[in-house]
């Protein structure tokens, strides 16, 4: 009649061991981690999905996968140091192990994008999940129409993946445009909020799918501009950030209205979100 401890076989809380194969500092606050699962198992994710990264004794944090699924032997995440777990992750070294759960959620609508023009709008850390999609598009470039990428960040120093962005800028099959909120006078690029870039994009509204990823405050303004351009609501996709604990549609933290962002999202069409109070 005593309390027993029973082992659970198929717990959603089991973590896989992820080996930190390479750590690359990107800015003062962000690092890129390349992670390999045991026996080279592929994570098998979709762009826009996330994993729960965990350190026993510290906790878990939801982090977007920022590498393309076409890279199979390992995956990458870009982590900003912002609190307890992320700071502890930043202190790790190559060869250390983290726990991985996932991938979770519904990512970007890759299949509907195929055969269409694509406009990708990223603000700040939003470039991390979008990088997964961008590299996927690059690896399958001929399946997509015209591709425009707009990136906004605080200042040139906080720009993530700057060397990779250099490559994107050189490609003839991507139109890349970037704007910063503030910059020193020697900055040659645009200065201003990201919404100011949208009117200048040359696009076919009915043929274009838009994916937006950035801080919550950005969405309302970007959507307004996109609608002005005549993009249909069902062709605009947004990735929502919410507090997440379980990733399994149970703990309630990520709930907005009747949706759980961790399972039903984090990516949703604007058509769906516009009627959900409190979503954007």
């Amino acid at each position: 009649m005593a309390v027993e401890t029973v082992r659970i076989n198929n717990s959603g809380y089991r973590v896989k061991h992820g080996l930190l194969r390479r750590i690359t500092p990107l800015t003062e606050h962000e690092k890129l981690f390349e992670i390999m699962l045991p026996e080279g198992e592929s994570l098998d994710h979709d762009p826009g999905q996330f994993v729960q990264v965990s350190l026993f004794g510290v906790g878990e944090a939801p982090i977007s996968i920022c590498s393309s699924p076409t890279k199979r032997e390992a995956f990458e995440i870009c982590v900003r140091q912002s609190g307890r777990v992320t700071t502890a992750i930043h202190k790790l070294h190559e060869g250390d192990i983290v726990g991985i759960r996932g991938p979770f959620g519904i990512g970007f609508p890759v299949l509907p994008l195929e055969g269409n023009d694509v406009l990708l709008v990223a603000g700040g850390l939003g470039i991390a999940p979008l990088r997964s999609l961008i590299n996927y598009i690059i690896d399958n470039r001929r399946d997509f129409g015209k591709v425009d990428i707009l990136l906004g960040c605080r200042d040139p120093e906080s720009m993530l993946f700057s060397s990779e962005i250099g490559h994107w800028q050189k490609r003839i099959d991507l139109n890349f445009c970037c704007s910063v909120d503030h910059a020193a006078p020697e900055w040659a690029g645009n200065v201003g909020v990201i919404t100011s870039l949208i009117p200048g994009v040359n696009l076919h509204p009915l043929k274009t799918f838009v994916v937006v990823c950035g801080p919550p405050v950005m969405y309302r303004f970007v959507i307004e501009e996109l609608l002005k351009k005549g993009i249909p609501e069902r062709q605009i996709f947004l990735s929502l950030e919410r507090h997440m604990k379980c990733g399994l549609g149970k703990c309630g933290h990520c709930q907005i209205d009747n949706i759980y962002c961790c399972q039903d999202g984090p990516v949703f069409s604007y058509q769906k979100l516009k009627n959900i109070k409190g979503a954007i």
């Binding site: 510290v58 307890r84 700071t87 502890a88 202190k91």
Partner: protein, 249 residues
């Protein structure tokens, strides 16, 4: 691995919070395997002249001599913890901020005053930067251990910002309001495992209020339970007098 050097110091207080650690029982021996206790007046007489990894500072600051000593400790410590209500919020001693100095001296010392200096009471963070805060009169040993473990693991730690009611319900206590008493649990910062209510007492608000209390709502509740506004204010400020007085110099 060298063990982190840990010290305890006290300012204006009853030293009860340090006693909580001294009385922690067997666990204390485990702790002593993990840290090197270099100064702790309650249990040892040695002094240490080097750097402290972690300094637990108990008590509030009410004269310049204490303030200077605290600044010195801050300079010599990697991590400074405000330890217990007096350190965290000024504690009950903060009540003196509402009384004139003459009145205070004559009430406390009568005609025996020997010139002891006492100024406006300040919490530790009103004088120097604090890394972590352990609330409570006295501190809760379990919470102390949780902070200590986080420090030893090199990870950050945050005091609870949930109301005392949260843990009180976990413990399935009969609500003090249903028992005909009034209690500050609904707006007081938890983390104490509703220690007082578990033992049949009401919550006096010793941990100060949560970060964003609905103070007006709580006052309404107390009014409907027959408390006079002055009494409500006195109850709510019993432990937070020093904070109410603002960031005084």
């Amino acid at each position: 691995m060298t063990r982190p050097k840990v010290a305890f110091f006290d300012f204006s207080c009853c030293e009860g919070c340090q006693l909580q650690v001294a009385n922690i029982g067997e666990t204390l021996l485990d702790i002593l395997n993990l840290v090197e206790l270099v100064e702790f007046r309650e249990v040892m007489s040695e002094k240490w002249s080097g750097r402290y990894t972690v300094t637990f500072a108990e008590g509030s600051i009410n004269n310049e001599e204490s303030a200077q000593k605290l600044r010195m400790l801050r300079d010599r410590s990697d991590i400074l913890v405000a330890y217990g209500s007096c350190a965290a919020t000024g504690g009950v001693i903060g009540m003196q901020n509402r009384i004139s100095r003459d009145n205070l001296i004559s009430t406390v010392y009568g005609d025996q005053w020997g010139g002891e200096e006492t100024r406006t009471v300040r919490a530790i963070h009103q004088v120097v930067k604090v890394d972590y805060t352990l609330y409570g009169c006295p501190i809760n040993p379990a919470e102390f251990l949780s902070l200590l473990k986080a420090i030893l693991c090199g990870i950050s730690w945050r005091a609870s910002d949930n109301a005392v009611c949260v843990e009180c319900k976990f413990n399935e206590n009969v609500c003090m309001y249903d028992r005909g008493a009034t209690c500050l649990g609904p707006i007081t910062r938890g983390g104490c495992n509703s220690w007082c209510v578990n033992n049949g007492n009401v919550c006096y608000g010793c941990r100060g209020m949560v970060d964003n209390p609905n103070r007006a709502g709580a006052e309404d509740v107390l009014l409907t339970h027959g408390l006079k506004p002055e009494l409500i204010a006195a109850k709510m400020e019993m432990y937070t007098g020093a904070l109410e007085a603002g960031n005084v110099k």
